[in-house]
Structure formats: structure tokens, C-alpha cells
């Protein structure tokens, strides 16, 4: 019974892992990049000035808020809401504001207008000097919406795969009887055995991270995946969801009263908030229904350098300037917010952010080794078929080809996205869309290419291509912009310099991988002893 149980878990782990594997690999790779989405944004907008002293240096917070309020009042007095972001965190490199117009009569959201502060003119301007680009945000969006599919379909596809991953993780832990001992085992260059050891090693190293990231990933759209609760207590569909939100966070859904009332001075509200937080600085605010008697102002505290996971917020009555009682968060909402913060690493400073990045890379490695392990485990049987004069099974060949195209090809495609950012002319009309097209065209080619090459040769070719594509990016950057390493390093602009350095690092990693695979391809056939060992494991673990 016990063995049967483990075998069932192994079966469950194998097939949930395989079915969801490639989608999850895409989700993990683009999501890993997402931990540095703002830094990637910055690199993809080379027209912006080098990081120097903050462009607020000529203004203090109070003056800045006054200027923002004056600009928004003059331009968008009837907006549904205004947002003011001070340039104090990595998520807000510029002092910027945006306004969303009131909802249209059909209920759809109004237009959004962005503007940023121009220190030279001392006023806000809507024109950005930067080229149009999807930036790091687009990569980040892809990791939960995919691309070229309707949002709803993307959310569901990613959700189903995430759920499968959660099951694969739990069943994988159960499958593994000697998880602790095997964690310290690594048998190098032993074919299937090594892939299994590698898969165990990376999976167990960051196991808590993987469980956290899959579970919290499901939480983002949980009422889409599991609407039953909302349905039972409210009503089906979007309307029920909105009722739930309105009850949870009243400040997020306030209907305008229709009575006009001038908005109080926002700089006074900031002063009150800072006093309330014992001097902790403010990072921005959202003003709902400005100019209406129902106006609410939600002030956010700075997130960085704090131990708190949630962002401290305070809600004020916009007409009177008093602290309002609207902001009561219950335990469940708090739990959800903590899970979402954990997923996004919202609270993470620089070193913790790198740790997130590394753990996430381990996630990519876990999926990649798992996918390769699937083929390694079936290799002996397929070779027997070949010897018997039969051809290899189609499913096996397909998985092998897709593995090359996903594991080596997707990085090439991501590099192509960055290349496109530098090579498509800045004035080109549809450049934003074409950056993404370039990425997916390249990915398509790398997915098909392995079908026309011998398996190991395809690995070597695509890994080499990935190495070149990444390693040459700093050069392309130097040829097309003024922001190469020779400039960014002396200027101490670590966001820009860091991007180029990481690309060089990735190039080196892929070059090493290509070198190793190419050595294996040239090496003579493995000694028979190893082969027999592999076959024994195969028979023992076949399920």
C-alpha cells in the first residue's frame, strides 16, 4: 500500500509537472524579470537623464504637493481620481501625477492622463522625452496575462497551471522519501541520476519560496478562479465582486455625492499624516472624487526601509481635511494583502530583492531540470526502440524539441525584446507592439528549430545564440545610445550599469552551458557501467 501510494504521487507529480511545465517556465522567467521591472523600464527609456540628485532637489515635499494640486485642479477638476507620486522610491523614479476621467455613461473606466514634473520649466508636462516601450512592465504583465490572448483567458491559463504546480510541489515532496539525505547528494555526469539530483537540489533549496509563490499567485485572482464564495454571499459576476470590495475597502468605492465642496490643501493633509506616523515620510496619495463633498484622500507612507509588509495608509476626508474612519481592514483582508506583498516582494530592499531574483531563478531551474528529467528518464527505452529498428515515439520527440525551444529559446527571445528596444527607431509608430512581436517571432523560430537538428546540436546552437544575444547587448547599447558602461559606471548609475552587467553575466552563464553540452556531444558514448545503472533505475522507478 505504501509503495502504491508513493507511486501514485510520482505519477501525479510527473504529469502535472509536464503539462504545466512550459507555461510555468514562461511565467517564471518573465516573472523573475518582473522583480526588476522598474529597472528594466529605465533601461528601455534611454532618453531619460542619468540618475543624479533627485529632481525634487529644488522643492520640498510641501511645495511639491502644492504644485501637483494646482496642476491637477487646473487641468482635471472633474476627474474620478488623481494620483500623486513623489520621486522617493524605485517604483517612482520621477515626480509624477495622473488623473482618471469620470466613468463613461456605459460604466467603462475613463481615460487616464499622465504628467511628470519638469525641473527645468518648474511645471508639469504630459510629453515624455522617452521612446514608447512596453518596458519591464510588459514582461511583468506577461507573467500573469500571457500575450496575444484575452486577459481573462491568460489569467485562467496561468491559474490552472499554477494550481497544477501547487499539486506537483506537494506530491513531489510526498514522493520523495529521503528528501533530506538526497538534498546533500549530487551525482555528477550520471545521466538521469544527475538530473534527478539537480531537480531535488534546486527544488528543496527554495521550497518555502515555491510554495509561497504558487499559493500567493493564486490569491491575486482568487475570486475569478473560485467565485463560489462571492456568489453565495453576494451575487454572481463582476457586480458581486464589486460589492465585496466596497464592503472591504469603503475608501475604494465612493460614489460622488453631486454636491461640490472645495478640496482642502493637500499639503496640510501630508503634514498631518507625517505627524501621525511620527515623522515617517509620505510617498504619495490618491484623491478620489476631487471637488465633491464625498472626496477621500488616501495617503501612502514610504515603503522602503521599513520592516512592515503592508504599506501604511491613512484616509482623510477631502472636504474637511480630518482623518476619516473609513479605513478598517479585517484579518482576512490583511492576510490577503500580506500574501500579495510577499509574492511581489513589495517591501524588499536591494539585497532582499536580489534574493527574490535568485530564488525565482531557482524556480526556473526547478522547472527546467524537471522537464529535462522527464526525457532523461525515458531515454533508455527510446534508444532500445531505435536499436530495434523502430523510430522514437512522437511524444518523446515533441517534449525534447519543446524543451530546447523553451529552456534555451525563451532567453534568446527575451534578449531579442531588448535588442528590438534599441534597434527599432525611436520614432517608429508601432514600436511598442513590435518590441513584443520581435520577442515572440524569435521564440517561435527557436521552438521550431530543434525539429530540424539533432537533439544535442540544437541545444548547443540555441545556448550559444543565447550567450551571444545577451553578451552583445551592452555593445548594442553602447552603439545606439550614450548610456554605455563607460558612462554609467563612473556616474554611479547602478540601475543602468547593473542592467548591462547582468546581461554580460547571463551571456557568460549561457556560454558555459553551451560549452558543457558541446563537450558532452563530442565525448564518446558513456561507459556501459553507467548505462546499466541508468537502466536499473529506470526499471525500478517506472510508474
Amino acid at each position: 500500500m505504501k509503495e502504491g501510494f508513493r507511486q501514485c504521487m510520482a505519477w501525479l507529480h510527473t504529469w502535472t509537472g509536464l503539462v504545466a511545465g512550459w507555461v510555468l517556465f514562461f511565467v517564471f522567467v518573465t516573472g523573475t524579470a518582473g522583480y526588476f521591472n522598474y529597472e528594466i523600464d529605465r533601461w528601455m527609456r534611454p532618453e531619460l537623464p542619468l540618475a543624479t540628485a533627485s529632481d525634487l532637489s529644488s522643492l520640498d515635499t510641501r511645495q511639491a504637493i502644492e504644485k501637483a494640486q494646482a496642476y491637477l485642479q487646473a487641468n482635471y477638476p472633474k476627474a474620478e481620481f488623481w494620483n500623486i507620486g513623489l520621486p522617493v522610491e524605485r517604483t517612482q523614479p520621477q515626480f509624477s501625477v495622473f488623473a482618471r476621467e469620470a466613468r463613461k455613461p456605459d460604466g467603462s473606466a475613463g481615460r487616464v492622463h499622465n504628467a511628470h514634473y519638469d525641473p527645468a520649466s518648474g511645471d508639469f508636462t504630459a510629453d515624455s522625452p522617452a521612446r514608447a516601450t512596453g518596458g519591464g512592465q510588459l514582461l511583468y504583465r506577461m507573467h500573469y496575462l500571457l500575450h496575444y490572448v484575452p486577459d481573462e483567458a491568460g489569467i485562467w491559463a496561468v491559474g490552472v497551471c499554477t494550481m497544477l504546480m501547487l499539486i506537483a510541489i506537494v506530491s513531489g515532496v510526498i514522493t520523495h522519501k529521503k528528501i533530506f539525505v538526497d538534498f546533500f547528494t549530487f551525482r555528477r555526469a550520471k545521466g538521469q541520476r544527475s538530473w534527478l539530483d539537480a531537480h531535488n537540489l534546486v527544488s528543496v533549496t527554495a521550497l518555502p519560496f515555491f510554495i509561497m509563490i504558487t499559493y500567493s499567485g493564486l490569491v491575486f485572482f482568487m475570486t475569478d478562479y473560485m467565485p463560489a464564495g462571492v456568489q453565495a454571499s453576494y451575487q454572481a459576476g463582476e457586480a458581486g465582486r464589486r460589492q465585496l470590495l466596497a464592503e472591504l475597502v469603503p475608501a475604494s468605492y465612493i460614489e460622488p455625492s453631486g454636491q461640490t465642496a472645495p478640496l482642502t490643501a493637500l499639503s496640510d493633509i501630508v503634514r498631518q499624516a507625517e505627524r501621525h506616523w511620527n515623522g515617517a515620510p509620505v510617498s504619495g496619495m490618491l484623491v478620489r472624487n476631487p471637488g465633491d463633498a464625498s472626496a477621500l484622500v488616501t495617503v501612502r507612507a514610504q515603503r522602503e526601509g521599513r520592516d512592515a509588509i503592508g504599506i501604511p495608509r491613512l484616509v482623510f476626508d477631502g472636504a474637511t481635511g480630518e482623518i476619516s474612519e473609513h479605513n478598517h481592514w479585517g484579518g482576512a483582508l490583511e492576510t490577503r494583502d500580506v500574501l500579495l506583498s510577499l509574492h511581489e516582494g513589495r517591501f524588499a530592499g536591494l539585497s532582499l530583492r536580489w534574493l527574490y531574483f535568485l530564488a525565482s531563478l531557482l524556480g526556473c531551474a526547478m522547472i527546467a531540470t524537471g522537464l529535462v528529467l522527464w526525457t532523461a528518464k525515458r531515454k533508455a527505452k527510446q534508444e532500445k526502440r531505435l536499436k530495434a529498428g523502430q523510430s522514437m515515439e512522437f511524444g518523446y520527440r515533441l517534449v525534447r524539441c519543446l524543451n530546447v525551444g523553451a529552456i534555451a529559446g525563451l532567453p534568446v527571445a527575451m534578449a531579442a525584446y531588448f535588442w528590438a528596444n534599441r534597434l527599432i527607431p525611436a520614432e517608429f509608430a508601432d514600436r511598442r507592439a513590435w518590441e513584443a512581436h520581435a520577442m515572440f517571432i524569435v521564440w517561435g523560430v527557436t521552438l521550431v528549430y530543434p525539429a530540424f537538428r539533432s537533439h544535442l546540436q540544437a541545444w548547443v546552437d540555441e545556448l550559444r545564440l543565447a550567450a551571444l544575444a545577451f553578451a552583445l547587448l551592452p555593445l548594442v547599447n553602447a552603439l545606439t545610445t550614450q548610456l554605455h558602461l563607460g558612462v554609467t559606471l563612473p556616474a554611479g548609475d547602478w540601475v543602468l550599469a547593473g542592467f548591462d552587467l547582468v546581461m554580460l553575466g547571463l551571456g557568460a552563464v549561457f556560454a558555459y552551458a553551451a560549452h558543457e553540452v558541446s563537450r558532452k556531444r563530442k565525448a564518446p558514448r558513456q561507459a556501459p557501467k553507467n548505462a546499466r545503472h541508468g537502466a536499473g533505475v529506470q526499471a525500478g522507478e517506472a510508474s
Binding site: M222, A228, G229, V230, G331, A332, R336
Partner: protein, 82 residues
């Protein structure tokens, strides 16, 4: 099949039942209860899928899923009672 769809049906029933029951038993707010129940739903799904895969025959699995569904459905009906 039992795992995939049966698991979802059970998770959905459990979520709906908890959303309605939590306010009565623990006195939680309606919105809080819905949120808490939905947060927990993925645990139920994982547990049911793994449980189905550990049972020896498909018959047992189906029997288990259906009886669990009946219990949850009944408790759901009871909460609708005034």
C-alpha cells in the same frame, strides 16, 4: 476526472458553505468570511486531488468525492434555512 472536476466541485461547495457559515459560527463579517473562505479554497483542492490519487480504485474515489459533496451541499442548504 474525479480529482480534476470533483475536486473543484468540493472546493467550490466548501468555499460557499464557509462563506455563509463563518459569520454564524465565529461572528465574522460577511466580506471577511467570503475572503477567508476563498483564500482557503486552494488548500481543499490540493487535498482532494491528492486524496483521490491515493485511493485504491476509481470507485472508492468517486464514492468519497460524492459523499463529501453531499455533506457540504447539505450544510449549504442548512445555512439557507432561516
Amino acid at each position: 476526472m474525479a480529482a480534476l472536476f470533483g475536486g473543484y466541485a468540493i472546493s467550490a461547495l466548501a468555499t460557499a458553505a464557509l462563506s455563509l457559515l463563518l459569520p454564524r459560527i465565529l461572528g465574522a463579517g460577511r466580506a471577511d468570511a467570503v475572503l477567508a473562505a476563498t483564500l482557503a479554497s486552494f488548500v481543499w483542492y490540493t487535498v482532494v486531488v491528492i486524496w483521490v490519487f491515493t485511493t485504491r480504485s476509481a470507485w472508492r474515489a468517486w464514492a468519497g468525492v460524492v459523499s463529501m459533496g453531499l455533506v457540504l451541499g447539505l450544510s449549504l442548504l442548512l445555512t439557507r434555512w432561516p
